[in-house]
């Protein structure tokens, strides 16, 4: 083979290698984005970060979250660099989820459920970010929170965090099944079920001894029911299949249907999960102490 021919073969081989690597990289990126999209639904991001009005742009924020401490407006989490999270680094995003801190170092109010998200794995957090950065940026400035004077400073959020927040990733319990651990991860952390279904103390901290035992003050004149397996006060008469089917289509075992806040959760989140993940959630919930 001549030198010229050798060079041609080498050039072809390099092109082929580059093309293969580029395709593999794109494939990996697509797969990360797809995983992130699934986790965005599992994590309830769409429900909270989309305004509660017809035709609202998903993830562009603006939903009013009413609480006993005032009204919080969810931020725009599309990758718009001015009004969204377009300038955030991977570390900024992970720190927000794990530590409840924004890129400027300010503490979030726990209306953002970082006390639950702190258990989310780094891989899952980065997959979520990859998906969020794949959607169309939307320029949308959301309203300032409407809070009483003593909550108007982020110092209040910092003080709350010092008193009530423990950062830490989810650690699987080795004596439990993979299904149970997956359910625990989803319920306690990513899907943050306790943020609605657990009552809060006077300063808004979740009551650990009443985990998932219902919350009479959900806001917007709604309450969240007890979802522990208590036969009278909770869902102890529901089977694993009943819970899984409820999370899929919102049907109660008696043929009635849920609506309100849980209707939105079914629509945007749990109906988008795999049946395996819904069964894992049901398995975990059935294993809790009845309260």
């Amino acid at each position: 083979m001549t030198k010229k021919a050798n060079r041609r073969v080498a050039a072809c081989a390099a092109t082929l290698l580059f093309s293969t690597l580029a395709t593999a990289a794109t494939g990996a990126e697509d797969s990360l984005v797809a995983k992130g999209e699934y986790l965005v639904h599992a994590g309830g991001c769409v429900t909270c970060h989309t305004a509660d009005e017809e035709g609202a742009t998903p993830l562009a924020g603006g939903r009013a979250l009413q609480s006993p401490f005032g009204t919080f407006y969810t931020p725009n989490i599309t990758p718009d660099s001015e009004t969204g999270i377009g300038n955030w680094s991977d570390e900024d995003f992970v720190r927000a989820l794990w530590d409840g801190v924004n890129p400027d170092g300010d503490d979030y109010f726990p209306a953002f459920p970082y006390p639950s998200y702190t258990g989310v794995s780094r891989d899952d957090a980065l997959a979520i970010k990859a998906y969020l950065f794949s959607v169309e940026p939307v320029a949308s400035q959301t309203p300032e929170h409407d809070l009483p004077f003593y909550m108007s400073s982020r110092v209040a959020a910092g003080a709350w965090k010092l008193s009530y927040f423990d950062a830490g990733r989810f650690v699987p319990e080795p004596q439990q099944s993979d299904e149970w651990n997956r359910g625990a991860y989803l319920v306690r952390h990513l899907a943050h079920c306790g943020e609605c279904h657990t009552s809060r103390g006077r300063l808004g901290a979740l009551q650990a001894d009443a985990e998932l035992a219902g919350n009479p003050e959900l806001g917007e004149e709604e309450s969240a029911p007890n979802i522990t397996p208590h036969k009278e006060h909770g869902i102890g008469r529901w089977s694993v299949s009943d819970i899984e089917y409820f999370l899929d289509i919102g049907m109660l075992p008696d043929g009635d249907f849920t609506g309100g806040a849980m209707g939105a959760v079914i629509e945007d989140n749990t109906s988008r999960l795999t049946r395996e993940d819904r069964l894992a959630i049901a398995t975990y919930i059935k294993s809790l102490s009845p309260r």
Partner: protein, 152 residues
């Protein structure tokens, strides 16, 4: 001649009276109670159907009957929301009458879903039956979400 004409008129009026629909003087309470009865019937069909669809009980032919019941009950919904019937324990939201087109579209969606479910049951394809019933459920949930007082 005049006697014959009068006689024919009497027969005609009597026949019209017999053939005309009877318009009940429905009170708000009656309208609400009737609506709740229809919803209770639907709930029974849905609860029973879901157990068959999920494979928790065998289908001894009841699935087709429940599919008919669902389709018939849903088709009746357009008549059971009498204006002014939000009384006592009614959970219907005012938006039903404030946005009639939106409500009619939601009812139509549920009707279409139940008709498709009947067809799926007729096909005997269990995967198609499950998927079609899921659509029925999602249409019911959508209606309850938008047009009924939120439950716990």
């Amino acid at each position: 001649m005049q006697t014959k004409l009068t006689g024919r008129l009497v027969i005609l009026v009597a026949a019209c009276g017999l053939a005309s629909p009877i318009f009940a003087d429905t009170t708000a309470e009656d309208a609400k109670d009737y609506r709740i009865s229809i919803m209770t019937v639907l709930r029974g069909h849905i609860g029973a159907t879901s157990m068959t669809v999920r494979g928790l009980v065998d289908d001894h032919g009841q699935l087709a009957a429940h599919a008919d019941g669902l389709a018939n009950g849903i088709a009746e919904l357009q008549y059971v929301f009498q204006e002014g019937s939000v009384v006592d324990d009614s959970e219907a939201l005012p938006v039903i009458w404030e946005q009639p087109e939106k409500f009619a579209a939601a009812i139509k969606k549920a009707e279409d879903a139940t008709v498709a479910f009947k067809e799926a049951v007729g096909s005997g394809d269990s995967e198609a039956i499950g998927a079609a019933f899921r659509n029925v459920g999602m249409s019911c949930r959508g209606c309850h979400d938008d047009f009924r007082v939120a439950h716990d």
